[in-house]
Amino acid sequence: MKLSVLLFAAAREIAGCESVELELPAAATVAQLRVALLHTFPTLAARTGILLCAVNNVYASDDRVLQASDVVACFPPVSGG
């Protein structure tokens, strides 16, 4: 399945785009999405530290199973306030 991943802050700047389309196996997990994302943008791993993932506006753990209709976002630890 194709999944579009939104990127924010340092992750967006390093990747050079606000979103990226990844090809993933059906019922892929967030962990598999991380691997695909870092394969596409190898420099992301070193420069953003821990990359957080959110699915449908809620933080998601690595074992979360993804669907093609999910809104997925990846970003560095937050620093608002």
Partner: protein, 165 residues
Amino acid sequence: MIELTQQPIDFSTLTESVRSDQAGAVVLFLGTVREFTGVARTSWLEYEAFPEMATAAMQRLEAEVRQRFNVVEVAISHRYGRLELGDIAVAAAVSSPHRAQAFEAGRWLIDTLKESVPIWKKEHYADGATEWLHPEPVMGSRPEAAIPVASTFMSESSPEIVPEA
């Protein structure tokens, strides 16, 4: 009241929105843009938000603060975009029957917001350098807040996170 805005925050209106005959105490927290962090001199700050999730996360925070504390009203406003020195980046207000609860709820609210709401700030220093900031460890009234973001907030089953109503 939950707001994510690119306009200056009207903290008088926000504070007024939590006042109530049922409350004997109102606590307002303002986070403002500071010029010096140690020797580093800030010129301005750029705040980036993931607007849909940030709004949803602030709504969940409001629900959770109501569940955890004896509060009457809760209001949060966070600004994003370019902010100058002294500008208000965030305002959080709570009202409750007594002041101890209001201080406690207000402290929890701003600490948890800073850990969980998807907003990032980028420093633009006076010397021209730029830097995305990393989260500050929060020490004090809430020891569990010192746990890194990744382990506290990544799990959907975390008790810290209240499902959307």
